[in-house]
Amino acid sequence: MAEVPGTVVDRPRDPGLRGHRSAPPTRITPRRAVRRRGRGTALLFLAPAALFYGLFVLLPWLHSAWISLYEWDGIGVATWVGFANYVTVFTEPALVGAFVHAIGFIGFYTVIPVFLGTVLAAILAASRRRGAGLLRTVLFLPQVLPLVAVGVIWRYLYSQDGLVNHLLAAVGLESLTRPWLGDFDTAYGAVGLVGTWVATGLCTILMLAGIQKIDPALYEAARLDGANRRQEFRHITVPGLRREVVVATTVTMVAALASFDVVYATTGGGPGTSTMVPGMMIYQLVFTANRVGVACALATVLSAFTVLLVALINRLGRER
């Protein structure tokens, strides 16, 4: 989450210009030389970050892609298999199923939270009542909790004698009570909703920050023209939040595709394989099945897919 595409970054000033300014007035420095010095300084400043990024992000990623070309049990000698592991990723039903589940999670982690977050933020921004600050904190709280803790909490809430079933029974919906995480029909949705619960807070806070940047004069003008609250939301708030929507979508979509913690702590991929996601699958492939090559192939495909999707979102979200 360190680098969020779509955020505004100050453009570096033209290095040539700066070179001119610092050049001694008596001698005219050749333009090329100035350029090079400027670039050298820039590279020097970039070096620490680039080094760490290279060592701890790019290199492990390349290494993992490299391992994906081998059959390896994680300890012994590896055998070169070319792209056979990739064939497995796209043909073994369990692996394909995990992918489908992750894509489905985008609905729970991204679509619902972004929608809910925008609406909630608009309501919060419009009401200046006391308690709005408290509400903001409460909404953001799930984002602060470690996801494993979130998973453990929800496992209790969803259990046969958990709070969810108690609440249903209290309002006379006893027929609906069930072990939510143990039931083939409900486990996937139940786990997905945990993601919604976590992501909605983040989206709301992002949108709230965005709304505060919208020029109040626009609302005033709209009101003078006789627009109601809904029309304001539709024609001023939503278009004004374009950039925030892109950020929220990117962040939550990455979370959906890379989901692991919540699934691990709630269902472990079960019942059957109904909540199996690539993250969980990779973990099992490495640590129980000892199929490290296939796990790396799956990880490579997953990360490539995520990058593509994020790039697509950012392109769609670019202001015209």
Partner: protein, 436 residues
Amino acid sequence: MRRRHALVPSLAVLCTTALAACAPGGTAPGSEPVEPTAVSTILGTEEVTLSLMSTPESGEATKKAIAAFEGLNPNVTIEYEQTNYEDYNKSLNLALSSSTAPDIVLLNSVGTTVKNGLVRNLDGYAQAYGWDEEVPTNQLAQWQVDTDGTTLGLGPLYAAPAGFSIVGVYYNKALAAQIGLDAPPASLEELTAAMGDAQAAGILPLQLGNAEGHAAFPVQLVAQAVDGPAEYSAWVYGQSGATFDTPGNAEGLDLLADWATDGFIPDDANGTDLQGSVAKFVAGEGLFLVDGNWDAAKIDDGLGEDAGFFAFPGTTTTGIGTSVAYGISSASEHPDVAAAFLDFMQSPAAGQYQWEQGFLPVDGTELAPEEGTVRADLLSAWEAVNDADGLVGFNANASPTMNDTFKASTQEIIGGRLDTRGAIERVQADWTQTHG
């Protein structure tokens, strides 16, 4: 601009060569099983510090054994470390191949640990200390690994048992009295009949938590009752020609499906883990619970004199079990000292600690549990199973992925998503992938 263009390909080439040089694997202490060097049963006076890795389930007794051993051998210090069961199995190989490998490790299964030569061949010590005479053959078999690294019951020994586990049936005597069951069922038919009686009396017949796949226990016990322990062992140990497609397994899976349909097991079985089911059983939910000796203390505390245990009945009395067995790291600098500790763990004194923890000891001659307690039941069940030579390893250990396969398959059977035939084919396909 031109310079940058030149940089990119050269960087790529550099990366590729660097990566090619470090192709994965082959960095383990020994890629071939380590042959035993000269062994000695004599402990020197040199100060030695060993490290030992275990899990909480098996660890308490080990901690006491360590203290006693250190008392007898003041020059030896053993540092104890523990991780929970699931994570332990996942991190064991990494720990053993690290530069700070522990000397003594609990082995829960043979896995890839033996295949990659991470633990020592213990044949020399077994002979020197006479383990092969003290420990029953069928208990050592699951730590004997053939040269292919996956077939068990043949070849050198890689771990020494310190205590044994056995899975059988716990029952609630108070609930049993309500349906007029005053002695443990003596056959599979009597057992299923008792379950029917319980259902009719409004008592949950079988407490079960299958979130982690523990329905594999009753399935295996029913199968063994029908097929006999020898046939099941051959399959669990991966011996060639064995198959899961047997009448016993079919009956076990059919019964599981029936229990789910008829409400003989809890509705939320798939959402409850083993410990959750133990807690419910202790709270009085369920006539029977299929579980291992490791929960004996908890059930004894919870149900007191209402708690009972019996070995699974059948044509032969059988149990599922393994041993709490420790291996010695190939990287250990003091294998002789480590082996002396393994031998100490088979002594009557250490056996007492195992027993206190709920495990069955190697040497149980000094045990005298109180009559009528679940502990006394446990010991007589253990003796009955041993007399019948009926102890079989866990079916979930038959391949590295078998636990997940059983988990998913039994969950789907309980959920009505898979039939017996489908489950048998899936399980056997998994087995074939490893033992082909």
